[in-house]
């Protein structure tokens, strides 16, 4: 385990100051935002936001996609400047904030986007910006050692500090950004959806680190969509809606219903019911996996996916679920075995991405920055990419037809956007994701593959997406749904395949309990058999489930 109890206890002196929900002047106030206001053209992204955070607390910032969270994060990080309002750190107002000035004041931000320099080494990335322009602040050998220690402690496995970052998986790159913030020993640490790219075990480890920092007196600001996380470690929460503060909650007030009410501004008496699972005996086989070995030596997988069925894929990071999904989409070749689309008793093999598209398979990528969006294109162009042929008049593209096509598929997802000719990057991350999802739904796929589509998407949007998926399945589509959030899978899936060691370790019914899924992800019978950090996370999951169900 990363956090030893003795270390926690020895630093608990300032911990007693935390957890206080007092709003008044506090000598421990380390960050004060007053009247922060920011507009992008027509969009009023932040409206007069105030926030006060004290040393030794975990202060959450929550809100729907597009509520202004990312803008607030960028303001605190000095990436952008407010039109009005002030930011004070430790009682000192920061004049014309830049990343450098904010860092000098003791603020470190771990951005949602995993910002690393791919062509550089791990140690260079961890100490990126640490040195001055001309002067080194630490000897190279000391850097290597500190980098190796820190990353091993954080990620739980050794990461070669000299390795090139582009060879590392997303989770390792995420750890690098965490380490980069920690080597500066910040007074204020801001985590923007930092657990989104991490699996359950890694996320638990990061949260344990956050608690350790809190006990040491660091003020931690946490932006998250994961309710379980929020309830587990946040002392207070600031809820944003449409760029303004909708409310501030104490730890006791952080229950889902209250949060959703504040985030949406609607009373939850009319709350949508959870997606309803229906029995799926009647569906015919849509996709067949025949002796699929994901890597040399892994146990081959033979499974069937039926029309009208939503099958969840779960597993710790890198246990084979992504490779399985990509094999289904013809994106990555498995080591052995075949994937076949079954059409009226005729089976056709999926071996290339082009076959997959022709056979009615749509693959919705998880990393929208890398695989999904054209950053300089408009919202409409981003939606239209594979759909041009569906909206032509005499062979020419009809913008009007395209717009109505987009409206039809984005409406169920409740896209929050300005004009369809605006650049896609003018949208918040979650809304960008909705455009990408709508793009593929417009293809009317018969088989839909989703690679963690709700990463960084708020609760309300998630529900809209679940409803769309359920509707698609009811219409006869077959859905493979990979998610890093277990509760998501137990909410809507008919079956859940749990991956471990590059093969299907367990197949669970859709109504399985989340902690059973978690247990099999770790290859044990019961959650209690998992070690401490992981057990904590798993308990938090089941608590949330009690809350939801």
């Amino acid at each position: 385990m990363t956090v030893s109890p003795t270390r926690m206890a020895s630093k608990s002196g300032r911990g007693s100051l935390s957890g206080g929900a007092s709003r008044g002047e506090s000598p421990d106030t380390v960050l004060r935002l007053e009247g922060l206001d920011k507009s992008y053209g027509e969009t009023h992204a932040l409206v007069e936001v105030d926030l006060e955070a004290v040393a030794g607390e975990v202060h959450a910032i929550v809100g729907e996609n597009g509520s202004g969270k990312s803008t607030l994060v960028k303001l605190i990080g000095g990436i952008i400047r407010a039109d009005r309002g002030t930011i004070a750190v430790g009682g000192v107002t920061i004049d014309r904030p830049t990343p450098g000035r904010m860092a000098a004041a003791g603020v470190a931000v771990i951005f949602q986007e995993v910002l690393t320099v791919g062509s550089a080494s791990v140690v260079e990335n961890v100490f990126l910006g640490y040195d001055g322009l001309f002067r080194r602040r630490m000897r190279p050998e000391a850097k290597l050692q500190r980098c190796a220690e820190l990353l091993e402690r954080l990620s739980g496995r050794p990461i070669d500090p000299r390795a090139s970052v582009e060879t590392l998986p997303l989770s390792a790159r995420q750890w690098i950004t965490v380490a980069r913030a920690l080597v500066r020993r910040p007074r204020i640490l801001l985590l923007d959806e930092s657990t989104a790219a991490l699996d359950l075990g890694d996320a638990a480890r990061l949260l344990a680190e956050v608690e350790l920092l809190k006990r040491e007196g660091t003020c931690v600001l946490l932006v998250t969509h994961r309710l379980a996380e929020l309830q587990r470690i946040a002392d207070r929460a600031l809820v944003l809606r449409d760029g303004a503060v909708a409310g501030a909650l104490t730890k006791e007030e952080m229950v889902e219903q209250r949060l959703v009410e504040l985030m949406t501004g609607k009373s939850q008496s009319s709350r949508q019911t959870e997606a309803v699972r229906r029995s799926q005996d009647g569906g015919t086989v849509a996709l067949r996996f025949n002796g699929l070995a994901l890597t040399p030596g892994s146990t081959p997988v033979s499974k069937e996916l039926r029309h009208g069925e939503i099958v969840g894929l779960a597993g710790l990071d890198g246990e084979g679920q992504v490779a399985f999904l990509q094999a289904a989409g013809g994106i990555a070749k498995p080591h052995a075995g075949v994937v076949e689309v079954v059409e009226s008793d005729r089976a056709r093999m999926v071996s290339r991405q082009r076959d997959a598209a022709e056979l009615g398979i749509a693959y919705i990528p998880g990393d929208r920055k890398a695989e999904g969006i054209l950053p300089h294109g408009s919202i409409l162009e981003n939606f239209s990419l594979p759909n041009y042929s569906d909206a032509t008049r005499l062979g020419l593209i009809s913008r009007r037809a395209m717009r109505s096509l987009m409206a039809r598929y984005t409406a169920p997802l409740k896209l929050r956007a300005g004009a369809s000719s605006d650049e896609i990057t003018s949208l918040s991350g979650g809304n960008q994701q909705k455009v990408i999802i709508a793009r593929w739904l417009a293809q009317e796929p018969r088989i839909l593959l989703l690679n963690d589509p709700t990463r960084g998407v708020d609760i309300v949007t998630k529900r809209d997406l679940y409803a769309s998926l359920t509707e698609l399945a009811d219409g006869g589509a077959a859905v493979l749904f990979l998610s890093t959030e277990v509760e998501e899978l137990t909410n809507i899936c008919h079956r859940i395949l749990v991956f471990r060691r590059q093969t299907v370790y367990a197949e669970l019914a859709g109504d399985a309990k989340a902690h059973d899924v978690v247990a099999s992800m770790f290859g044990v019978e019961r959650v209690a058999d998992i070690d401490l950090a992981v057990a904590e996370a798993a308990t938090a999951v089941s608590d949330e489930l009690k809350d939801v169900l």
């Binding site: 910002l115 062509s119 040195d131 050998e141 739980g156 044990v524």
Partner: protein, 349 residues
């Protein structure tokens, strides 16, 4: 430790001794230059077969002197390319020409023949032009290619204005830079000096900042790297090497000639690309630039041993293009294959 944590992929990276690790890292850090190195060996073998007179004391002196301006010009391109934003400083060639004519006309033409003021003037002038370019890119935020193109046109025009047709002479110490010191080509010593200076520069925090900036400017900015000063510094380093290149050019042609500098523009860009320096930024280094420039020089030398007569210039240019494309295609394909294998190995873990 319970079963769950040990079940994570652990200890797949063997710990190595610090020295071996550093050596391996250094070698891995220079692997981008491998294609250029292989090509150089091939070309040197070809030269040994077809024009072995290069490997005499006199031949080496001429080779080092003639290659030096190109090598230095390519070195000048390197920091700006590494700093990213697609920075290809096309104005390096004309800058060499401008410095060449100004030292011949303004200084030597007015009786200033002492090495100290001449060298100081050449370096200071080129540094100043580099600084202006840097400000245009980093502060005014012109696209680097626009700043470079503007610089190319303005500097070529100015150079021709200062000295409309080739003329003038240079003091013996300057033309002597194309000769020998003892039995060693002076140009080789100058290149060695430039390379040592570069090695020092490349180990500074400043250069690391420039490289990170070129790798991902947003990541660097968000991580508090001072973007503007780093960019300007890259252009200043470029200016200094361009000044040195101009001095070597002046030594070789022993006169003022406004039209000589610009001829280095495209050849040096070709040399840079051949040397594995990414024109997209963040990757590559001076070793690649030097090897790439030597490749171009040797290629030229080999082609000269064939008698293409009136077509020589065209044929040479055509071969530059062919070799560039073929070499980069091969190295790109190799890298892709290696990356795939690496990915597979990663998945297998």
């Amino acid at each position: 430790m319970s079963a769950a944590t040990t079940g994570l992929p652990s200890a797949h990276i063997a710990r190595r001794s610090a020295a071996a690790g550093r050596l391996k890292a250094a070698a891995a850090g220079q692997s981008y230059a491998a294609p250029a190195a292989v090509l150089l060996v091939v070309l040197l073998i070809l030269i040994a077969l077809r024009g072995p007179s290069m490997f005499t004391e006199r031949g080496l002196t001429i080779a080092a002197s003639v290659a030096a301006p190109l090598v230095l010009a390519t070195m000048a391109l390197t920091p700006v390319a590494i700093a990213g934003r697609g920075g290809i400083d096309l104005s390096i060639g004309p800058l060499m020409g401008f410095v060449n004519v100004t030292i011949v006309v303004w200084l030597i033409g007015n009786g200033v023949r002492n090495p100290v003021p001449v060298i100081a003037f050449a370096l200071a002038l080129a540094l100043a032009v580099g600084f202006i370019n840097g400000v245009l890119v980093a502060v005014v935020r012109l696209q680097p290619i626009i700043a470079a193109l503007g610089g190319y046109l303005v500097l070529s025009g100015l150079a021709t204005y200062v000295l409309p047709s080739a003329s003038g002479s240079v003091p013996s110490w300057l033309s002597g830079m194309a000769g020998k010191t003892g039995s060693v080509p002076t140009a080789a010593l100058i290149l060695l000096g430039a390379f040592i200076v570069w090695t020092w520069v490349s180990r500074t925090a400043l250069f690391r900042n420039i490289r990170m900036l070129g790798g991902d400017e947003r990541a660097a900015y968000a991580s508090t790297v001072a973007i503007r000063p780093a960019h300007i510094a890259a252009y200043c380093i470029a200016g200094l090497f361009a000044g040195l290149a101009a001095l070597m050019l002046t030594a070789v042609i022993a006169s003022g000639n406004a039209s000589q500098g610009p001829t280095y523009t495209l050849t040096s860009v070709a040399a840079l690309a051949l040397g594995g320096v990414s024109l997209a930024g963040g990757r590559g280094g001076m070793l690649g630039a030097v090897l790439g420039a030597l490749d171009i020089y040797c290629l030229n030398y080999v082609l000269d041993t064939f008698n293409f007569g009136v077509n020589a210039a065209n044929v040479t240019q055509m071969f530059y293009g062919l070799v560039l494309v073929v070499a980069l295609a091969i190295s790109g394909a190799t890298r892709l294959l290696l990356a795939r294998r690496h990915l597979r190995a990663g998945e297998a873990r």
